[in-house]
Subunit: 356 residues, 4 copies
């Protein structure tokens, strides 16, 4: 489950209904000041209970730092932060041992771990585990910012509704701030309203809907990354696919590049303010596995939440008979919304690891 | 540059114009028979010079095994295979030190490695490095086959031309064999002819074109993989993004899942021949980072070859003046075609690593 | 700081005076029952305050499990255990920032981490960190026992006083139990009394004394390990050198082997009860980096505690003037005593990792 | 089998009688000039056939660089070097499949790898594999020297005969050069003569003899290393135990420290030429897992060569009957002699890894 960078490691731990979730972050240099208020503001963007579009589960999500800090500054020892689990309702889950929920981790986890799997709340497969991930990523974001690197994301689409895209050449902190100022993480407020309508409609229909998160990192020097499996896409890709519900990752023009001609896709070099830049940025800032110095731009596709209120077909694993299952309880109708800071967090881990 | 599995490691080495390319594969159990003829047949699918759609560079691509085999059987020591480089024309490349080719590794590699970068043929960033990767992957494919796992890929699209898709529920060895029987790696021969026309047209226009490769792995047990960064998508994704020119990776419905409702995307469980299956396979055989026992289906998007014959804009790094550049020489107009066995190879490495 | 096995990872965290110490253990299979009472008994062997030979610092050392268990059984998620730090007296330590204690981590840690190093109690370099290590190792010992592997250690020497050695051919659980039955961890109770006298004498003299711990693992199959850096000595050696104050590690006859002839050192094979054994075991059960199936026997040398009550020479790092320093406070006069279970713990981690 | 540093990785490959041995070194920065003549001189120190004290097997040991160099300078791609195996006499080895040689890798390797183990010459367990290790280490030594770090070793003892020890405070390049000027790698030429007599006597008696190699690294800054398993002793220890035949490793006073009082063992700080030093160096330059800035001094104990000409007892694995075995052929009577540069090589890898 660990994030394993070259220098930075984050061991995430916890299950949805265990006493706590948390993380141990190793490899951070000593002397990084952690602004706890800003960290908390970052965590609030992931927290549930923000409105109609998220689950009603209440989580304060205030990390307790057990180690690694001297006052508010990293001391060179591994940083451990813990978030207690509260407001858990374990009674809801026992029957999924017998009848696994479609497109949930239940069935493969029961095959893998057998009867000792802690199925309550989805165990270690719960999106709850992204809370400690955001603690680690939030610290990484602060460390990156002090190195001149800024990362920001927004919802690129919810179902068929699309936000404006980042300008891959000129995207910058101004855009990230604009997204934050919107209550809903989009560039185009009108698109955000239509997304909320789409989500509300899905919820009304006891259904859920997928979405895409677009993210950009600016301020990175050229030449980070390496050939083949040492490439930035490999490490960023592995990090992003580690977020629950991500089914696709693309850089720059991504899948659209497969439909382009080279003459249209190639990014000609130019000089701007005495610096080498590319006129366009179809590459998403990564060529040959290495940064070009242009914004690194990528997208992650999230599937619709598998927990829906409609009756579904499944199998009783004990009797091996097909049966019907209705899931009740509290679930986000669109996981992509709360995933926006999670995407920023794991991107920050992968990129800070390259800079260290 | 290394493929770093949990048990399996492949250290790929070489530059396009170094004496050789090769690989060291560590972690293979002793006792795996290597059928050299089948390995060679596999390598031929990647080799250039197969027709109008590939570069004219001639490479025999016959690996010499320096270690790790006792006769034709793995002996438990690391397997080293070497492929000498021949037919290299280094004269073509020297000027790219000064004027980097757009969307090539030249510029970031020069920033990263400085003057000692071996730019000839693109150095270690050359697609030539996929030859030893296919040696390793070819051995992995044979080892997997003996464990009942088969992997096959085809070109899903070239530019706007699409092949039929694998049936995600029923795809199997019969489909893989059908692709191999076609001279061109597609399911639908007519689509193949239109792809060849598209590639020919691009070549005619001194241009190149992108494409998508779809791959499936069948015969895997349920429960392979783990939560978060231990998920199968993370390791397969990292492996696939390690292939030069890959810009996007998606599993199952992938990006399309982001536009779906949960009620349509969820895969209901059913019983078939006393086994748990899913009726559909939008998940692409991976849920919660773990295999479900259904075919693992994924796609990798390839950008158009950056080496095109048309004049392009670039910058002279010495004078910092913008200039024009025309690339001559031998290049695949569509890298996706020869990438089909490469996708199979890296998938085999990532999946064998999970089974060991 | 992490223990990094091939399958098993233990991220230890904490500083001596941080809110807590703890560990995250990843890679344990699901379904391992943890007997908490036996675990607590194991931790008590490491705990201070056992008698005249240990520091008077009081630590309850009762781990709280935050994750990874379902009831008392591992569930396949990472196991996190936390031990709060209490009875810390931080006032004692501030002046060591200016005048580092000889042979302590103070000076190199200040160079490495700068002013943000948490010097209180020695920070992450404190022997306090061996408490969570023993939690992880205690679980590993229980898992090993269920696989038929037993590990036991004793104090081989304190200063010049030597205990009897394990019989490298016949050592077994009976010996380990005998050591446990003695209040002081030795085979020969009389030697134990003389060791206590030696320690008491050192304490009286405001001094400290070194010692050697000998450890054996029995029940391991032949063939664990690999060539070169994959050898068992490399992984066990790295694990043992990870214990604070260890200055030497040897296997079998160890340094004495360097003074032997091959004819005396070689272990002839024989058949006993239909099994291949060696008549002697100068190899300490490891040949060519691999287990032979005989007991694995090794020794770790511990330096005398650097914290002594006598005045010592040091340097004021601010003024760069030489000065005198007297350390007060509570310290073990012989760390080797409490290190006995720590040696068992890290050996258990390294060996369980090989068996998984 | 791989050397796995944090940044530097060396994948060693080959078997004694495979077509070649070699290595792939990853993580070296671009721009390191490799002086091939000095590298060859370094390799000659390990090569056999130097005199009466080594095996008569002839090995030219001239590495062929297949990749990673641009001219004689590292280009940032993995460095692969290959040394063909010649003068192999495989007929000698077949019978050891049935009757394993005492204290050789034969028996555990046959258990581990089964019939496909390449037993000829000991397969991957042969000391022959230290040749490519010395290529990697030789390059690391040159890289270290340019960073102001020098490493040197000598034979501290052969059987009971001892050389003078390095002065742990003042050891330096002058000592290393003195060792090289002696034909036999000792500080005290008279001790060297007695060692040669001891070796000759062992050879005469169809026997072998063990030895100890002492090594020092000077010029390292303070603060390299980390707590617990991140300590320098763990990584250096793992590297040294990776050398075939090493049975013990100690730092500074090592095992002798276990017999000392703290007041004698502690190294008081002092100021010399405006720099912090320690008056003595019982710590061997490593405290709390970190360098102090003083010479890093350590010793590795080598067992006597297991291949001896005297008849030995073993077991026929097919019939499970005890039997006698006489080994003929060419073997070093004292492996410690040729191990001197190997110790320098692996130390260089472990230390360069820390500096990168």
């Amino acid at each position: 489950m660990r994030f394993n960078g070259n220098k930075l490691t984050v061991a995430v731990f916890g299950q949805s209904h265990a006493p706590a979730v948390g993380m141990v972050m190793e490899g951070l240099p000593a002397g990084i000041a952690v602004d706890r208020e800003r960290l908390q503001a970052f965590l609030r963007r992931r927290a549930p209970g923000q409105g109609s579009f998220t689950t009603a589960r209440k989580e304060a999500d205030i990390p307790e730092f057990l180690s690694g800090l001297n006052g508010d500054v990293t001391c060179g020892a591994p940083v451990c932060a813990v978030i207690p689990n509260a407001d858990t309702r374990s009674g809801d889950y026992s029957r999924f041992r017998e009848v696994p929920r479609p497109s949930h981790a239940d069935y493969p986890a029961l095959v893998k771990f057998g009867g000792s799997f802690d199925i309550r709340g989805g165990g270690q497969f719960s999106a709850r585990l992204t809370a400690p991930l955001c603690v680690a990523g939030g610290i990484a974001l602060q460390a990156l910012e002090r190195r001149g690197v800024r990362i920001g994301a927004h919802i690129a689409s919810v179902g068929p509704v699309e936000d404006d895209a980042f300008d891959p050449v000129n995207v910058g902190p101004g855009d990230f701030d604009a997204v934050l100022r919107n209550g809903f993480p989009v560039l185009n407020a009108e698109a955000g309203r239509r997304m909320l309508a789409e989500i509300g409609e899905a919820r009304q229909a006891l259904d859920s809907v997928g979405g895409v998160v677009e993210c950009a990192a600016v301020g990175l020097p050229a030449g980070l990354g390496d050939a083949l499996f040492g490439g930035l896409e490999s490490s960023l890709g592995a990090a992003l696919f580690g977020i629950p519900a991500v089914r696709g990752v693309e850089f720059g023009s991504g899948f659209a590049a497969s439909r382009m001609r080279g003459s249209a896709h190639n990014d000609p070099y130019a000089v701007r303010d005495g610096k080498i830049v590319t006129r366009m940025n179809h590459a998403g800032g990564v060529v040959g596995g290495m940064t070009t110095g242009m914004p690194v731009v990528f997208r992650a596709a999230f599937k619709p939440t598998p927990s829906i209120g409609q009756p579904q077909r499944s199998v009783n694993l004990r009797t091996m008979e097909e049966t019907e299952l209705t899931i009740t309880g509290r679930h986000d109708p669109c996981v992509a919304v709360r995933a926006v800071p999670v995407v920023e967090a794991v991107a920050a881990l992968a990129l800070l690891d390259r800079l260290l």
